[in-house]
Symmetry: C2
Subunit: 327 residues, 2 copies
């Protein structure tokens, strides 16, 4: 049994917990939190709630730590720290800072003979792996990533910060016409507006100025101004009934050309349709925790990304089995 | 430059040649044939046509041999032989014999400090890799592979062997209704007939008995009897105009369930739409030839499959680049 520890018990931490529960070769030992551990109600029988500040005391009791903190401030600090004591996985997704984060985690993991895998999930993660396979196979081509239909937590948060808003959910929606063009083998240059629209469902206080709120949303720089945005004001009842889930998904599509004259066309597409973003992300992460465990056992130390991990490392089955059943 | 040799100059050999041409870090050195080498018209400038029976003389001039022989009789004999002298890739696809072939190639490659990768292409190959990722991420679920619309060489050959047939092309076509059900998250058990249909385009001799030929096709055991098959008799002109290509493609779809009660549904789909099966297969193989070269340089010897190869090995770019651009 691979002994797993989780740091952080938000949506992602709970998604990872469910994934560990569904993998028969893994066992959740503890959840570490910076809050009061006694405030956590952990679903897994026998798993402990412990203080994050004591984590290094458990270095001989846990094989892999799954760090479910936030990319903005938590992970750049905590993953390198944890890598001094444990094999560790995170889902770091601040793209511009990946080289720096990789270097920090790599030096600590190498010094401690630990194995770390950063930026695991579906984007970055499975979408990245697919972009790499597609680019390696079809070097002459162009790829596109579409996101959605799905909930953007960041955009939903941005709406909730507007005065008069009680709750809000924002769905990123790919433009069907754009996806159809790419699937049809065309390789256009899209503007931001041509690729995705944004649909907002907003619950406001009694008597709130809806026109002002709608305008504040639609003109918000970076988040909404570059998109065609629709704003729907709904009741709390409707919000709870129809918008309580966290679905997501998306598509990576590459058109490439082969042949001596580069005129033979091929289209590769990878798509995800997810009822729960954190449960799926947690499931991806659990399989990479297995890989970190196996790699560490084989003496392969330091920081990795999904690009460095052979598919066989991810599954609870040996080479004979996978060659017979999946090849 | 990675120096490539190709064994066999049929459709696949030519597809590999075009792929090597389109990869700037590779160079085709020679094509080896069991026919008279002077009969080959090789497209790549400066590449030599040589006798397969002399291949071991070139062991210091070529980095990776791509073996484009047939699975039925060629590859089981030639890949283990070649692995004594070269890093080697093949596209062995006789599923039941993979364990035996793997063992034979593995022992010879290990003894010679060479790296071999067998069963490379799209199925087995990219479809297999995707089945593995899907199964690792969503262990509770069920996956489906659909093939087509595309040309089955084996079925086309079977029709051509019927008396009175001049030429024929058989397309395997997935049943849209079955794919739609799976994409919709259902996990049915399909019969063979429910998943694919077979469309045949047949050119016959003047005065041939079409009713007999159609009946022989539709009742042919293993090839057609278990499918809904349509037979279209066409002229040689129409055959050449509309059925001269070798397109193919297909989809791997897995529905899986997460959460403590396994009720949250996710669908992962990987699909290919290929104008030329041999050019795409050749492109996949070229990227794995690069991996064999890199792995051999790092001292990783023996036989591998696509499951054992980290994605980063496939691309002509280093870790810093792929983390910055594809993650």
């Amino acid at each position: 049994m691979i002994k797993i520890g989780i740091v952080g018990y938000g949506n992602l931490g709970k998604g990872v917990e469910a994934a560990v529960w569904n993998n028969s070769d893994m066992k959740l030992v503890a959840v570490f939190t910076r809050r009061d551990p006694s405030s956590l109600k952990i679903k897994t029988p026998d798993a402990k709630a412990l203080s994050y500040y004591d984590i290094e005391k458990y270095k001989d009791e846990i094989d892999v730590i799954i760090n479910c903190g936030g990319s903005a401030t938590d992970l750049p600090e905590t993953t390198p720290y944890i890598a001094q004591y444990f094999n560790v996985i995170d889902s770091f997704d601040t793209h511009a800072r990946i080289p720096e984060h990789f270097a920090n985690v790599n030096s600590n993991a190498k010094a401690a003979n630990k194995t770390a895998i950063i930026s695991v999930g579906w984007d970055p993660g499975m979408f990245s792996v697919n972009r790499l396979y597609m680019n390696a196979i079809l070097p002459n081509g162009k790829d596109y990533t579409f996101w959605g239909k799905g909930v953007s937590q960041g955009h939903s948060d941005a709406i909730r910060r507007i005065e008069g808003v009680i709750d809000a959910k924002q769905y990123t929606v790919p433009v069907e016409k754009a996806m159809a063009a790419v699937r049809n083998g065309e390789s256009p240059d899209f503007t931001t507006r041509e690729k995705h629209t944004r649909e907002c469902y907003v619950v406001v206080e009694d008597g709130a100025d809806k026109a002002r709120i709608e305008n504040e949303i639609k003109t918000m720089p970076n988040y909404f101004a570059d998109y065609d945005t629709t704003v729907n004001f709904i009741s709390m009842e409707e919000f709870k009934a129809n918008h309580s889930g966290i679905p997501h998904g998306g598509n990576v599509i590459r058109n490439g050309f082969t042949g001596f004259d580069k005129t033979t066309k091929h289209t590769i597409e990878y798509s995800l349709k997810l009822e729960s973003n954190p449960e799926f992300t947690g499931s991806v992460i659990a399989s990479y925790a297995r890989a970190a465990y196996k790699l560490n056992a084989s003496g392969d130390f330091g920081c990795k990304t999904v690009f460095d991990i052979a598919p066989s490392m991810l599954i609870d089955a040996d080479g004979d089995y996978i060659r017979a059943h999946l090849l």
